[in-house]
């Protein structure tokens, strides 16, 4: 039997692709190497805590006023998502600041703070909102293949985020305060395309973020069950070890020596892994891959604390700490192990049901660029992993003046090694490819038709739209729509 599509990997991107294809009556098989679906999006249990790994608040879902693309996609998939919009609620610290600053409420509240920092800023901040709105509309047109005429879009198409913000008239002093969320995109402002940055800020500011009332694993199973309802097939413990392109079909071979055939293959995997380990790459592909930069990898520490977040003094949903608030300076410190850039999420602040009564979950994450891990081997792995996690916890305690250690009931530490083992992401990267100059998401999008492989497509966090759960889900939908319009089988 030849499937219309085989999808390797049942992460958010793969499941989204599977749902869209089965909805359109295609014969689809998902092959998942692990015994459970979800890939990086999962839930694990330790003691009395259930920790979510990937998704805390969903971007691009939107609200009644600004409907996000994901809301439409989920509607099409007939999946209902139960969640609530969360306002800004973050505490941001940098070693070059006298004290942390806080963002609470809506964008207006944040702008009032920035105006207070630098009187006279408000006019250009409002202009910034107008610009990102228009750029967002232009991206929608590009995605539909419509010719874009918008002045700002064309003007900033080849401009980095820093230069564009200056051009809009945002003062140098305000930019670092406004743009601390660069860390979510994994690129400093001078490498980041303003188009990518504007789209990201549009999502945060207008569509806001939605906190789901279900665990990551529940969302994944909702998707799997819906996919199965539409006669989609999924096989677990089926690790693909080889891909062969034939004249009429693509042949996929699994570790247990089974073979599956399809007309078109979709990989919810990092392309570099596919071309390095599963399929012989062409010289053109090798050039593309050698040109791209792998994004940061991360150390993630999950803590189960035995007091409620109020008692612990954890008032903010998110905490950010930087060596330097200026992303361009800051990123230089992130090639080494002992830097001070990290973020923390306390899901209990927005949803007290995420852990048992009188307990708190905290997730600490820090990122590394380049080959920070090159000296790590089997003889120092366990010790270093604990040292790094310990350092991270102690830094949080020091910079935010909140005690954690005495309350740690459960702890789990995830390294890039473990993350690569789970996902096959090259270098254990959590960000896929780095958004950098010509390799920002907008560049990938405009070059998509020219660069795509006729037999193999890619979805997920390493594909077109970059890292993030929303981008992974959107990529699965977007790519399969392109395929559905084209396919004549």
């Amino acid at each position: 039997m030849i499937y219309d599509y085989i999808i390797i990997g049942s992460g958010l991107g793969g499941l989204s692709a599977g749902l869209n294809l089965t909805l359109n009556s295609k014969k689809v098989l998902i092959l998942e190497k692990n015994s459970l679906p979800g890939g990086a999006t999962t839930t694990f249990k330790k003691g009395r805590f259930e920790f979510d790994t990937a998704l805390y608040d969903l971007y691009n879902y939107g609200n009644s006023e600004h409907i996000g693309e994901l809301q439409n996609i989920f509607n099409e998939y007939d999946l209902s998502i139960d969640g609530e919009v969360v306002p800004f609620n973050a505490l941001i610290n940098a070693l070059d600041l006298k004290k942390p600053y806080e963002i609470k409420g809506n964008i207006e509240d944040f702008f009032i703070y920035l105006e207070h920092l630098k009187p006279g800023s408000i006019t250009n901040l409002k202009k910034f909102l107008k610009v990102i709105k228009e750029i967002h509309d232009s991206i929608l047109e590009i995605e539909k293949g419509v010719k874009v005429k918008n002045e700002y879009f064309l003007k900033y198409l080849d401009t980095n985020a820093y230069d564009a913000l200056i051009d809009i008239g945002i003062s140098k002093e305000i930019i670092p305060y406004l743009s601390f969320l660069w860390i979510q995109l994994g690129s400093p402002l001078n490498k980041l395309s303003f188009i990518d940055y504007a789209e990201f800020m549009y999502k945060i500011i207008f569509k806001k973020r939605v906190v789901l009332n279900i665990k990551n694993m529940e969302l994944i199973f909702n998707m799997v069950n819906k996919y199965r309802d539409k006669h989609g097939k999924i096989i677990f413990n089926a690790e693909v070890v080889n891909i062969n392109k034939n004249k009429d079909y693509v042949l996929v071979e699994t570790k247990d020596q089974k073979e599956y055939k399809c007309k078109h293959l979709i990989c919810d995997l990092m392309p570099r892994y596919v071309y390095k380990d599963l399929l012989k790459a062409t010289p053109e592909i090798n050039k593309l891959e050698n040109a791209r930069t792998i994004g940061a990898n991360s150390l993630v520490v999950y803590l189960g604390l035995n007091k409620d977040c109020k008692t612990l003094g954890l008032k903010h949903y998110k905490y950010y700490n930087f060596n330097n608030l200026n992303s361009i300076i800051n990123i230089k410190s992130m090639n080494s192990f002992y830097h001070s850039t990290f973020e923390a999420i306390v899901p209990n602040v927005v949803n007290e049901d995420v852990s048992p009564k009188n307990t708190t979950i905290m997730v600490l994450k820090t990122d590394y660029y380049g080959d920070a891990w090159a000296k790590v081997n089997k003889s120092n792995y366990h010790k270093l992993k604990e040292d790094l996690a310990n350092n991270l916890i102690e830094q949080f305690e020091r910079y935010f003046n909140i005690e954690l250690k005495a309350y740690i009931e459960e702890i789990e530490i995830v390294t890039p090694f473990a993350f690569e083992k789970l996902t096959n992401n090259i270098n254990g990267s959590m960000y896929g490819y780095m958004r950098k100059g010509y390799d920002n998401s907008i560049n990938r999008l405009v070059s998509y038709e020219d660069e795509k492989d006729p037999n193999i497509s890619f979805v997920g966090g390493s594909s077109l739209f970059g890292n993030g759960a929303d981008n992974a889900i959107k990529s699965g939908y977007f790519i399969t729509n392109k395929l559905l319009n084209k396919d004549d089988f």
């Binding site: 015994s35 459970l36 839930t43 694990f44 249990k45 259930e50 590009i142 010719k147 874009v148 198409l157 080849d158 279900i214 665990k215 694993m217 529940e218 199973f221 069950n225 677990f236 413990n237 570099r272 071309y275 390095k276 790459a281 053109e284 090798n286 050039k287 593309l288 891959e289 050698n290 040109a291 792998i294 035995n306 080959d371 790590v376 081997n377 089997k378 003889s379 792995y381 366990h382 010790k383 604990e386 310990n390 740690i408 009931e409 702890i411 890039p416 090694f417 690569e420 083992k421 090259i426 270098n427 254990g428 100059g437 010509y438 390799d439 907008i442 560049n443 405009v446 070059s447 020219d450």
Partner: protein, 372 residues
């Protein structure tokens, strides 16, 4: 649309100048490719520790592709996988050697002979020096965690429950772990003490203190009787972490004792190697197992886990920890009423009918989907 065409061209021009050579592995890629779920080892030596306990020294079996042994953290276990009567059977054993010895490419596991024990009897009777074995990578979370735990560690060991603490003591001696360890070790008689010479040697270290109590005889240099409050009290400091490994009865007694010392629950950790369950009535049911390539219907008993029933019937069911934690045996309950003992799983999994056959007992006829 000049700008967009221009944008594409810039990208093409940059990519064009890069090397067309094959993509290289990063350091992390290389290390990850060496991580295997299974390891092939050769029995290098067998040491008789007591009348009913033997240690096995395991080295990598290069001929089967295991070049070096995976590192581990003191307290972790490996799961031994034996092929008996046409079926795979697994048993979890704590590593009793030190983490630094794994880097020198050997592990030690220490096995107590259990009357009628399927695996331990084979290990005692049939396994000889030079034989090949299949084991899992090191797994489990039990042990000292310097972030979570207090520096004063009281370990309670019953019988062969001493093994993870041997590893921890050695790790402290090697400076791989930094804590002060008191092991209160309960055995029946002096002749039942495992690692007696090693314990005497380790006791010379100022951060390691083994205290042995004999429950079935009185002798000089040993405490006498079951572990009680008076035995523990001298070693307690303001903040303590308690680690326990032994039979279930020991845990129950200890929990009562620890309550009196006001040691918070978060500072008490168990190794859980034996899940016990006594159903109110004993019945035999039918168990239909749906696998990738075949369907088999076998008998199962209400006092035997579904995993054991499958193993007895020669079904190659996956397993590893056998106490409901690792998830290797995870299967889907298609039909039937069952009772689950021990660790609970993520709610979303239970809601989707996932069960762990290693800790699940039938209460009716059951249909199970394996190889999911």
């Amino acid at each position: 649309m000049e700008n967009i065409t221009e944008l594409k061209k810039v990208r093409q021009d940059i990519i064009k100048d890069y090397s067309a050579k094959d993509i290289l592995d990063t350091h992390i890629d290389k290390e990850v490719s060496k991580m295997n779920d299974l390891q092939y080892v050769i029995v290098k030596d067998i040491i008789k520790e007591t009348d009913d306990t033997k240690s096995f020294i395991l080295e990598p079996d290069v001929s089967k592709g295991t070049r070096e042994l995976a590192p581990f953290k003191a307290g972790q276990y490996i799961s031994l996988k034996l092929f008996i009567d046409d079926a795979y059977v697994t048993r979890a054993y704590s590593l009793s050697s030190s983490p630094s010895e794994a880097l020198k490419n050997f592990y030690r596991i220490t096995i107590k002979k259990v009357p009628n024990g399927l695996v331990s009897n084979i290990m005692f009777k049939d396994i000889k020096v030079g034989d090949g074995l299949t084991i899992s990578k090191p797994m489990g979370e039990f042990g000292y965690n310097k972030i979570r735990d207090e520096e004063n560690v009281i370990a309670i060991a019953g019988g062969s429950g001493i093994t993870p603490f041997m590893s921890l003591a050695k790790a402290i001696k090697d400076k791989d772990e930094e804590c002060s360890l008191t092991v209160i070790y309960s055995v029946k008689k002096e002749k039942d003490i495992i690692f007696k010479d090693e314990i005497n040697e380790l006791n010379k270290n100022k951060n390691i203190n083994f205290v042995i109590t004999l429950t079935e005889e009185e002798k000089d240099n040993y405490l006498n009787g079951y572990i009680n409050e008076e035995m523990i009290e001298p070693y307690l400091k303001e903040f303590n972490t308690v680690l326990m490994c032994g039979p279930k009865g020991l845990y129950q007694t200890m929990n009562e004792i620890l309550l009196k010392f006001n040691i918070p629950k978060k500072n008490v950790h168990y190794e859980n190697f034996n899940v016990m369950y006594e159903p109110s009535e004993k019945n035999t049911y039918s168990l239909k197992v749906i696998m990738k390539d075949e369907v088999k219907t076998i008998k199962c008993k209400s006092d035997e886990s579904l995993l054991i029933s499958m193993e007895k019937a020669g079904i190659k069911a996956p397993s590893s920890c056998r106490v409901g934690i690792c998830g290797f045996c995870r299967s889907i309950l298609i039909q039937g009423k069952v009772k689950t003992i021990g660790a609970t799983q993520v709610k979303a999994l239970s809601e989707n009918d996932y069960i762990h056959p290693c800790v699940t007992y039938p209460e009716s006829d059951v249909v199970l989907k394996l190889d999911i």
